[in-house]
Amino acid sequence: GAGVSQTPSNKVTEKGKYVELRCDPISGHTALYWYRQSLGQGPEFLIYFQGTGAADDSGLPNDRFFAVRPEGSVSTLKIQRTERGDSAVYLCASSYISGSTDTQYFGPGTRLTVL
C-alpha cells in the first residue's frame, strides 16, 4: 500500500520567507511525528500528534515553528521568517497508534534550503 508521502521533495527559499511542508501519513495511522535531520546528524524530534491534537511539541526549536493536523490525517509543518540554520531534511513518520512497540513509518523527507 501507499506509504507516508511528503511534499515538496525539495524546497529552496530565501531568508525571512514563510514555508509550509506537507505530510500525508499512512491511512488509518493516528500518530504522526515530525523530525528534522541536519547534515551529519541523526533525525531530531520536533512534534507529535495523536489524532488532531499536538500531544508533544517539546522539540520545536522556537515559536517560528508550528504544525497542524486539522482533520487527523494530513499534517503541515509551518516555518515563519526562515533562517539559514533551518536548512535541513524534514522527516515525517506515522504509526498506527502511539506505543513503544509500534513501528514508525517514515516518509522520504523534504529537503529545505534557506539561502
Partner: protein
Amino acid sequence: AQRVTQPEKLLSVFKGAPVELKCNYSYSGSPELFWYVQYSRQRLQLLLRHISRESIKGFTADLNKGETSFHLKKPFAQEEDSAMYYCAPSDQTGANNLFFGTGTRLTVIP
C-alpha cells in the same frame, strides 16, 4: 538528559566478515530500543527492535543494561548491508518519539 552515542561515523568491513555497530545510551527510565537503517536513495526504515528479540536480515542486537549498550551485530556481512544505521531509544513517557544517534555508515567491501 537522554543521550545516544554511536562512536563510529564510518565503518568498513569485507564481505563475509563479522560486523558490529556500537550504540551506547544514557536514558532515564527504561527505554525501548530500536535500530533504523537507511539504504542508498531509500527512506529510513525499521531494522529491528529490542522487544521483539528478532533477527532481521541476519542482524541481532543485545541489550546490556549494565553497560547501557545496544550493539548491532551480524556474523557475515553482505554487500547489500551497506547503508546508514541509526540507534534510537524510544521515549516511553507519552509521545514515544525516537531519539536518534548520529548514525554509522557501514560499507561492505566486496
